[in-house]
Amino acid sequence: MFSYYVKLAMISLKRTPLLSFLMVMLIAMGIGATMTTYTVNYMMSQDPKPSKSDNLYSVQIDSRGDGVDYSYLDTIPPEMTYQDAMNILKSDIPKYQAVISAIRTTVKNPAKYDTAVTREVRTTSADFFPMLEVPFLYGRGWDETADSNAEQVVVLTKQANMRFFDGENSIGQSLQLGEDLYQVVGVLDDWLIVPKFYGQNNAMYSQPFDIFMPFSTQVSKEIFTTSLINISCWKPAEDESTAAFLASECTWIKIWAELENDEKKQQFQLFLDNYAQQQQAQGRFANRILNKLVSVKQYLSEEKIVPEDSKIAVWLAALFLIVCLLNCMGLMMAKFHGKAGEAGLRRAVGASRQHLIAQFSVELAVVGFIGGVFGLLLAQLGLVAMTNLYSHLHSSLMQMNALIVIATLALAVVISCVFGLIPILKASRVQLSSQLKSL
């Protein structure tokens, strides 16, 4: 009977083309607006590294000694001091662990007559690349020796390689950062990681920084860009020298670690607790001992990575969808009122109420499906518009995946039937004897 009902639905749509068009467009507009905002929100909430996010942890220690009672707070800042970061990096419990910071500097290819451009540079350590399974087009990441020796090496993104070396294999070539020359050791392939959980919260949805260089090199070159990192000092540095800053209680470095299993996690937690007690015995960590290994999902939740605005936009769009559907419901009433004669005839020749309910439900499902298809097209247009409007955000945020496409069509069909329930029930309760004369 389903195919018969679909055939009847198509005939019915042709019978009242304007009404059907309005119904489809109302559903399409509501679905389009909702799915545009929902897609962005959904993509923002995605697990950035599904293959190993359960084993990746933000290493957090509370080194504050300002005397303030923070016991009401279970969360602590994800940044730590330089001295703590260097001490924790010595642990061999994690499979990988990488420090994370950033600088901004001028960049140019010294072999080309080209003006220098300002670029953000991710400073990190060798484990960053294997830990996040970063794909390479040419070469590879630097090794631990480069970290230890603060070597002047860089890894470029594919886009940066295109910009500075016209996309050619640039391994072994020099790139000028500031006044110094750095040797290119690796070029990334296309790399999608959204949200970019490892860096600063305000840059989670932007493209990865163009250039990567060893953190140790940043420190040895004494390059700091405070606008790209969160610096918090509960006690000022002793003087303005770099050495004093590095020895200070200012927190500004993030550490991410990969712990292969629960046993390793417990071992590393114990290592952190012992370290904190050791530091407390030396007069630091005066407030409390609180060390945390925060998983990626928990980190994204605690740091409220998905903006509230985005969630509100989804709710507003959902309200708009409901308004569209309520209007559509009125049109459905009119449509089924016009079918009272046919309903009466079908009942007279033997259709039960269930038959009519099924027939009309399929008709609305067809309307909903077509509305969903048009809604998808409108959502696609909306996402293109948002991509242009928010060009600084990662373009993958504005792309629907197969799951969203299927969910959109299913949503359109289901809501059409749900909001059509009253018109359908009303139409199925025809007064047979009176409606037979209205065909």
Partner: protein, 227 residues
């Protein structure tokens, strides 16, 4: 039908559409129901055809008390054992003749082959086999009524209720429809026809008259012939 009556009650007004009456119709009879407009003929036909409920009395169809039937049972009964022919044909204009006749068969869960056979047989019976893909608007009134009759007989019903089947037709077309109904009756199908045309009513074996909601048996052609 024993002591059957129908009253419409709206707030404080009660309108007695049909006064209590007794009537028995046997299998294979051709009964005409006559009376002036507003006398209650169509109400009688709607009750008899299970399109409307009666208010009082007992109505047994095939020995089954219809007041005890559920809505679903009544639908199934209408589908399997009753055929309707309406004055205004009641064909769906967007469906071709084949699909119009197919409509009741769809609810009968016949397979495609059986539906096809029944539709073609019904179309042949009404003389429109070559026009199965035509739409109702491409046919004359008489042809449309033939399609309605084909729809009514396609399911091999035991009884056909015809409400003014020739009311919208000229005399020549009406004559053809009446002949068709007589042929169908001759094959054993009971026909109960509402009409206000006395001449056509005389073609039936029995005539029941309704006047001001009062039903009375007027005559029986067969009885008169024997007398």
């Amino acid at each position: 039908m024993t002591g059957l009556a129908k009253a419409y009650i709206t707030s404080d007004i009660k309108t007695q559409a049909l006064q209590p009456f007794d009537l028995a119709i046997g299998q294979g009879e051709f009964v005409s129901v006559i009376g002036p407009s507003g006398s209650g003929k169509t109400t009688f036909l709607n009750i008899a055809g299970l399109l409307e409920n009666h208010s009082e009395g007992l109505y047994e169809l095939d020995g089954q008390d219809v007041s005890k039937m559920s809505d679903k049972q009544k639908s199934a009964y209408r589908n399997e054992k009753i055929g309707f022919v309406f004055q205004s044909f009641n064909l769906i204009p967007e469906l071709n003749l084949y699909d119009n006749i197919d409509m009741p068969l769809r609810y009968r869960k016949f397979n495609t082959k059986e539906r096809d056979e029944r539709i073609m047989k019904a179309l042949e019976q009404v003389g429109l086999a070559g026009r199965k893909n035509h739409y109702p608007t491409q046919l004359s009134g008489g042809q449309q009524q033939r399609v309605a009759i084909a729809r009514a007989i396609a399911g091999s019903p035991r009884v056909i209720f015809a409400d003014e089947p020739t009311g919208n037709l000229d005399s020549k077309m009406a004559q053809g429809i009446m002949t068709l109904l007589q042929d169908i009756n001759a094959s054993g199908t009971t026909i109960i026809m509402v009409t206000h045309d006395n001449e056509q009513a005389q073609l039936a074996q029995r005539i029941v008259q309704i006047k001001d909601g009062v039903l009375s048996e007027e005559s029986s052609i067969l009885t008169q012939a024997i007398a």
